[in-house]
Amino acid sequence: MSKYSVIGTRVHRVDGPEKVTGSAKYTFDLVLPGMLYGKVLRSPYPHAKILKIDARKAKRLVGVKAVITGKDTIGRKQGIWRRFPELCDEEILCREKVRYIGDPVAAVAAIDEDTAEEALDLIDVEYEPLPAVFDPLEAIKEDAPQIHDGVELNININRHIEWGDVDEAFEKCDHIREDQYKCCPQAHVCMETHDAVVSYDYGGKMTVWTSTQSSYYIQRLMADMTGLREGDIRVIKPPTGGGFGSKFELDSAQFPAAILSMKLCKPIKIVLSREEEFTATKRRTPMYYYLKLGAKKDGTLLAKEARVITEGGAYTAMGATALYLTGFFSSFPYKYPNYRYDGYRAYTNTAPTSAMRGFGAPQSTFVGESQLDMMAEDLGIDPIEIRRKNGMTPNYEVPGQAFIQSCGLHQCLDKIETHIKERGKLPPNHGIGVSAYGFMSGGIFNWFDTPYAFSAAVVRINVDGKVDLFTGACDIGQGSDTTLSMICAEELGVKLEDIRIHAADTGICPPDLGAWGSRETLMNGNAVKRAAADCKRQLLEVAAAKMAPNIVYDFDIKDCWVHLVDRPERGVSYYDIVKEAIRGRDGNAIMGRGYYTPHRKGMISPAYSFGVQVAEVEVDPETGRYKLINVTTAHESGTVINPVGIEGQLEGAIMMAGGYGFCEDQPMDEGKILNPSIADYKLIRSLDMPETEILEIDTYEPEGPFGAKEAGEGLTNPTAGAIGNAVYKAVGVRINDLPITPEKVLRALKEKQKKSK
């Protein structure tokens, strides 16, 4: 019998009815009176000086209301790493130079999209093409073209993590492996492309409706870039068609729309085309990975060294975080007594690489889990056993970096071991590959330089007992609206239907950093729980006054019944207490506030979730083609608040993470992405999707609301590694560069055959 009434139950999402009836209105659907349509002109060159922009012909086209360029802005550069001005390097509307194919140079507002599109062709831009560089190892050479002024050798950032003494430790190892890997980029492919409607009114106030993961970030960055006060900009997030890391930075739909709107005092709508989405929005960071792993012959891992150089693309964006996190998660989920990571990010003349679900950890998990399997094979140790021997445990400290409180990794390993045994003997050319991971529940480092608490919420109770929950948290499909409503209902002791959530509108909600790094459940959940607890306390005061029991008794509310905890039959209806509380406070609505910022929780995150995944594949050795048969995951994410939500996140993560291993890639030629359409960008469709199974492990995270922690982003970490290990188990070939395509498998099989002759 669950001790919870709401959390842990299988519910319809609170936004369900509007989504299944097509009545949810996305930014994509928004139409305002007098609205104009905008389009963006982008650079055809990967690297060039802008000599002249002549928009006269475009301006004369009937239906065109304005044309803007970088010269119409206040000339600032922005970036999401606001704490470090040298990393704020993106103008969005370029003034002097373009740095990748797709870099915006101008924008048009017109009466309809067709006219705006036609006007783009009439803008004459004179460029002076400059030599360009596309590979990070080329970009760092002394004779490579410099992409940003003052950044020599195009080395954007470097990050280093170290504990123990790896050099000394390697001396003590019985076996050492050194391996190199290449991790490819990946496109988010949100079903709703980046879009915005911006309305600047004659009173000098701006309203932005946009598909975003963080309305607060957009508000703040827009203020930085327009010179408006933060408070004069209101950002509203309508239902949003996916984010996955691509939508928490100021983008080339929002900013040009804002500048156009400020010029015309009319609402401007810009919707990026699917091609722009592929070529001119940010993508998963490609990495060259070098790993050195040392172990004793019994499988104890003594030392690991990781070196990474990433293809940064034209701007920093969130690349600095991806660089750090890949190095940090390269040490997960094992206890390395000695560890060293050196990471470098190089600017290149390609579309910027930034954040994508997993944030550097899918890359580190692919390379780490591949190498660990090889180490296990070298030592003659079972892959589960080597992970068991070295796996993290509860209350483990990653030296100087992080403190892991709850950790169910070993239970996950046990469950997966049983699953593999039950699967029994596999048919020929089948293989099962294992991959383990750990991931963060939101980040601690305040690179955005916000003065606000990381998460905040306000709860207001109406006289009829109905509850309004105001929070800055952004539901981008991951279900935070539902999860947070459930937390609020549970804490307050009411039903889920009693909660109405108002989220992600900076005009009425307190700030929240947004949906990234898997932070909403833990961080905003804590804020919501505290706000609800504040309201509850106010109600319980009234109940105590009314019922006046012995002082030793505690009150609580459950299922809308305010009662003594020890004598639950003695109580009064929540609805009655609400009415009395309001009357007793001179008619003031009952309001509660809560906020959360992690303090003294290490360098990275307040809590971590863990899991172990196995993928079973069937390879056709004649063609190299392989099928994903089954992906089974044992994972733990603390208390499960929203079980339907977690299942959805897990299966969705397998589609995305599986795609990273299986088929997704962005081949380029001289900086031009060659497959910028859904027809050409391969991803997993229904026929390719494997059977999925979830094995839930029960854990409790003290830092999280009701014991919950992240689920949904960590699950994108293991699948590529599991697939790689499975292919190896099936046909004995190891592919070290993603994605693992049939061509690569076939080539490797042929090489293997040649060698064995």
Partner: protein
């Protein structure tokens, strides 16, 4: 025996470790010192990712061994 960085005075216990520090810092002053000894910084860095055995560090460590060793 200890090794003092000729640029920022950071102390390392081995030439190899000091080499790693200098290449890792990657800022102009450290790079300029490395270049002044006839190395190309980008080549040393590239060796990190293209070679096994830490060749990039070893090359620089050889110079540091001679020039920065300090008796404790």
């Amino acid at each position: 025996m200890s090794y003092h960085c000729p640029v920022c005075n950071k102390v390392s216990k081995s030439a190899l470790d000091l080499a790693r520090h200098m290449i890792g810092r990657g800022d102009k002053v450290h790079r300029d010192w490395i270049s002044s000894k006839g190395f190309k910084y980008s080549e040393l860095l590239t060796l990190q990712f293209k070679s096994f055995g830490g060749e990039g560090f070893k090359a620089l460590a050889g110079v540091l061994e001679k020039e920065t060793k300090v008796k404790d």
